[in-house]
């Protein structure tokens, strides 16, 4: 089995990351009753004998679990969040050597994060990543978690992305990026986001954009269901995708519910790489099948079910409903309208007691309502993992490469232009060593080209495409 390393950068990245590790432990604990350090665990955790003091060589492979250490690198230029993690119940999961922190933060300035802290900490970052990679038998993927709107996650996060490509060119880079909503309280978030977008387009293999507003909507929907108290419709509390119950952490904090959704998305994404199933889907299969053109690697994710009903006697038309829900806008982690745009490719990662016939039946059922690009009419990639998430009998993560991300990018571009036209706040950036006006114009044109690529594909929508003329063979 292969291993992955999570690199969490900035306040948002670390908070989401924290929830991921908590829920990952919870998931493995519910499956791994015997306390044996198995291959599933090794994909994200090391097994360490903490009694030995010879530094790095205390990994134990196989056998009983001694002390689990996350394969993670935590980076933040402020101490608040990381300190909290180190004082909280997850403190033993992280090795103090895995952290890179500073004191004053990036001031919501991409340039500070990328250029200043980037150059200051480059060596330490590379060192840290190398160590983490050395503990892996077969490192397959880096998961970067960050936000786009701020300074550290956005600037330093994308700097790390560059480093990953330079130092580990063969390891996949899957980035989970939280995009700012229109009413974001950080005024310069459009600058930060567009500057970061260019890095994502050029250096990431796959990006999973997330919008806070979508997460809020999902949380509200679940809370509404919990409180409506309809007879027979009671929700099993620990089963919702916003719940951290059963995890290590005690009290829930304000963003926990939202961050748990993202954490669950990551757990489902990696489920087939960790647990067995009748149709395995590894991470490199995701990057391969869902990315038909190198720059178009932005995937819309949606999760279902959001919760499980407590009453086990509810008939299981649930299974087909789960598939329908995954294609409903309410279940998406980003606001967009895939059904009215163009699908380039779609992956279905199914967990639990689901067979290939259920999969095929639902694909046949849903296909007619989903517009696919002409040369990829059957553009479905499927995976079946036999281990369901905690509290559910089955679950589905749908990843769609769809031109519906275009409006999000266009909006971002517009908000950027609003500020840039007036040169508002620009001096904060240009003061930074290494930062020039060209950085802005290049980032802007990168985003424009990306939007144009989506436009060209959209233009083919609804057109009756004739089959390409086949080769003529002399008989």
């Amino acid at each position: 089995m292969t291993q992955s390393i999570v690199v969490q950068v900035g306040q948002c990245g670390n908070q989401v990351g924290c929830r991921f590790w908590d829920l990952a432990l919870r998931e493995h604990a519910s499956v791994n009753k015997k306390g044996i350090y198995d291959e599933a665990l090794s994909s994200f955790f090391r097994n360490v004998d903490t009694r030995r003091s010879d530094g790095d060589n205390n990994d134990i492979s196989g056998g009983k679990i001694r002390s689990l250490k996350a394969r993670a690198v935590l980076i933040d230029m402020e101490e608040g969040v990381v300190n909290e993690i180190l004082q909280g119940p997850l403190r033993d999961v992280f090795d103090s050597k895995q952290l890179i922190t500073d004191v004053s933060g990036s001031g919501n300035n991409w340039a500070v994060g990328h250029k200043v802290y980037g150059s200051t900490y480059r060596e330490e970052i590379v060192e840290n990543l190398r160590k983490a990679a050395e503990h892996c038998d077969c490192l397959q993927c880096f998961f970067v978690i960050h936000s786009m709107g701020g300074g550290t996650g956005s600037g330093l996060g994308t700097f790390v992305l560059n480093v990953l490509e330079d130092e580990f060119p063969e390891v996949y880079r899957i980035v989970t990026s939280v995009y700012p909503s229109a009413e974001d309280d950080v005024i310069t978030s459009p600058y930060n986001s567009v500057l970061a977008m260019r890095e994502l387009t050029e250096h990431a293999d796959c990006v999973l954009p997330i919008e806070n507003q979508s997460l809020v909507d999902i949380v509200n929907k679940i809370k509404h269901m919990s409180h409506s108290g309809k007879l027979g419709a009671e929700i099993k509390q620990s089963s919702t995708i916003i719940s951290g119950q059963g995890g290590v952490k005690g009290q829930e904090k304000p963003f926990d519910a939202m961050n748990n959704i993202v954490a669950n998305m990551l757990l489902n994404l990696t489920s087939s790489a960790r647990f067995e199933g009748s149709l395995n889907m590894d991470l490199n299969e995701i990057t391969m099948n869902l990315v038909p053109f190198p720059n178009l690697h932005y995937l819309v994710s949606s999760l279902s079910p959001l919760y499980t009903l407590a009453d086990v006697n509810v008939p299981s038309r649930r299974l087909d409903q789960m598939f329908s829900d995954a294609f409903s806008k309410d279940h998406q982690l980003i606001h967009s309208d895939p059904k009215h745009s163009l699908y380039l490719a779609c992956a279905l990662i199914v967990r639990g007691d689901v067979q290939v016939s259920d999969l095929r039946r639902n694909i046949e059922r849903l296909k007619p309502s989903l517009p696919f690009v002409s040369w990829n009419q059957e553009g479905w990639k499927t995976g079946l993992c036999s281990v369901p998430p905690v509290g559910h009998s089955h679950s589905l993560l749908a990843l769609a490469n769809n031109t519906c991300v275009k409006p999000t990018f266009i909006e971002l571009k517009d908000r950027f232009m609003k500020l840039y036209k007036k040169r508002a706040h620009l001096h904060h950036y240009l003061h930074v060593d290494g930062m020039e006006q060209s950085c802005f114009s290049e980032a802007f044109s990168s985003l424009s080209s990306l939007i144009e690529e989506y436009n060209q594909l959209d233009a083919t929508k609804g057109l009756l495409m004739t089959d390409a003329q086949r080769l003529n063979i002399a008989v």
């Binding site: 869902l290 990829n376 990639k381 086949r470």
Partner: protein, 353 residues
């Protein structure tokens, strides 16, 4: 080992060649007499298709005089893997060069057998694979070739001799009847004439299983010049054969009359039917079926699915979608074009049977 699509041909193949060929050599040394290699793989994914193809090539290079039969699973038409059509094109074109014959199982067909004949409600891959295993067993289990008094020592070699007379025609299909659930089996009685009549019509009408057979399709009247015969075929969707092998297992097998398969009208004009049709028999029953009949055929039956795969792959290639994923691992656009050309050639050859 997890791999990326066909690039496993370029990267993992060479990387693990020594270890794999070492293991093969050890197995070969254990054999008194090596009958050949039977490679099983899928066409859609990465390891099976890419590595499988690479290993077949290595086997051909290392054991130039051994028979190599590749059992290839064709993916469901509605994707399992988005780049399955590319992988299929690359796999088939390469296998054609190093393998002696390619025995095909289509997931869609086997799935229908599970659903409609075996009555399985929630079909799993285990069910699908069981059917494929049954079909393969019905071919490779011991049997007597015509006139023989001992079980065939070299089923692979005998299979090749009967089925692959020309290097341009290597695609083999399998039909096995009866196939049904345990409960139905208890209430069914079979006769050899009945089974053989069904199999013959399945062959002629290109039915993949024993349901929905089109009894309207008839072979063309004998004696027609080839050109006319060609159009006649197209009109009636008649499936022309190059070679057929019947394998009969079970009670009273000696009484089974296979004359229907010797009819020259079933075959392409440039082969005499005496050569093109053969039968193996054994009185031993197979896998709960009192009587079981298998037909291995080299015919036009795969023409439509093959054409479909090549068409879809070509459309995708026209937009250059996913090509960057292959070129970064060493498969160039020229390699793609070579593979497409090879397959169009195969399609043309089978079309003009």
């Amino acid at each position: 080992m997890y791999t990326v699509a066909f690039p496993s041909f370029c990267v993992h193949g060479p990387r693990h060649e020594e270890d794999i060929m070492d293991l093969v050599r050890r197995e070969v040394e254990k054999c008194d007499r090596l009958g050949g290699f039977f490679n099983m793989m899928s066409m859609a994914g990465g390891t099976g298709s890419g590595m499988g193809t690479y290993i077949t090539q290595c086997l051909r290079d290392t054991y130039p005089h051994s028979f190599i039969l590749n059992q290839v699973t064709w993916p469901y038409g509605t994707g399992e893997v988005i780049v399955q059509n590319y992988n299929s094109v690359l796999t088939l074109s390469h296998l054609y060069q190093s393998s002696d014959a390619i025995l095909v199982h289509e997931n869609d067909t086997v799935h229908k057998i599970c659903a409609q004949l075996m009555n399985i409600k929630q079909i799993s891959f285990k069910d699908v694979n069981k059917v494929i295993a049954h079909q393969l067993g019905s071919v490779l289990q011991p049997a007597y070739t015509e006139g023989a008094s001992e079980y065939n020592r070299n089923p692979l070699g005998d299979l090749m001799k009967s089925m692959v007379c020309h290097p341009e025609y290597k695609l083999l299909g399998l039909r096995n009847i009866p196939q049904m659930s345990e409960t139905s089996l208890a209430y069914s009685v079979f006769t050899w004439p009945g089974l053989l009549k069904h199999l013959r019509q399945m062959l002629i009408a290109n039915a993949k299983m024993e349901e929905g057979i089109d009894w309207q399709v008839r072979p063309p009247a004998g004696g027609l010049p080839p050109a006319e015969k060609g159009t006649h075929n197209k009109q009636l969707r008649f499936n022309t054969s190059l070679a057929n092998l019947l394998i009969l297992r079970g009670k009273d097998v000696q009484s089974a009359d296979t004359g229907g398969f010797m009819d020259p009208a079933l075959y392409t004009s440039w082969l005499p039917p005496g050569v093109a049709s053969s039968t193996w028999r054994t009185p031993m029953s197979f896998n709960r079926y009192e009587k079981s009949a298998t037909l291995v055929s080299n015919s036009q039956f795969l023409l439509k699915p093959l054409d479909g795969i090549v068409g879809k792959a070509w459309n995708m290639f026209a937009s250059r979608a996913y090509v960057h994923q292959y070129t970064q691992f060493g498969i160039s656009e020229e390699d793609f074009l070579d593979s497409f050309t090879a397959l169009e050639q195969i399609i043309a050859s089978y079309t003009h049977l």
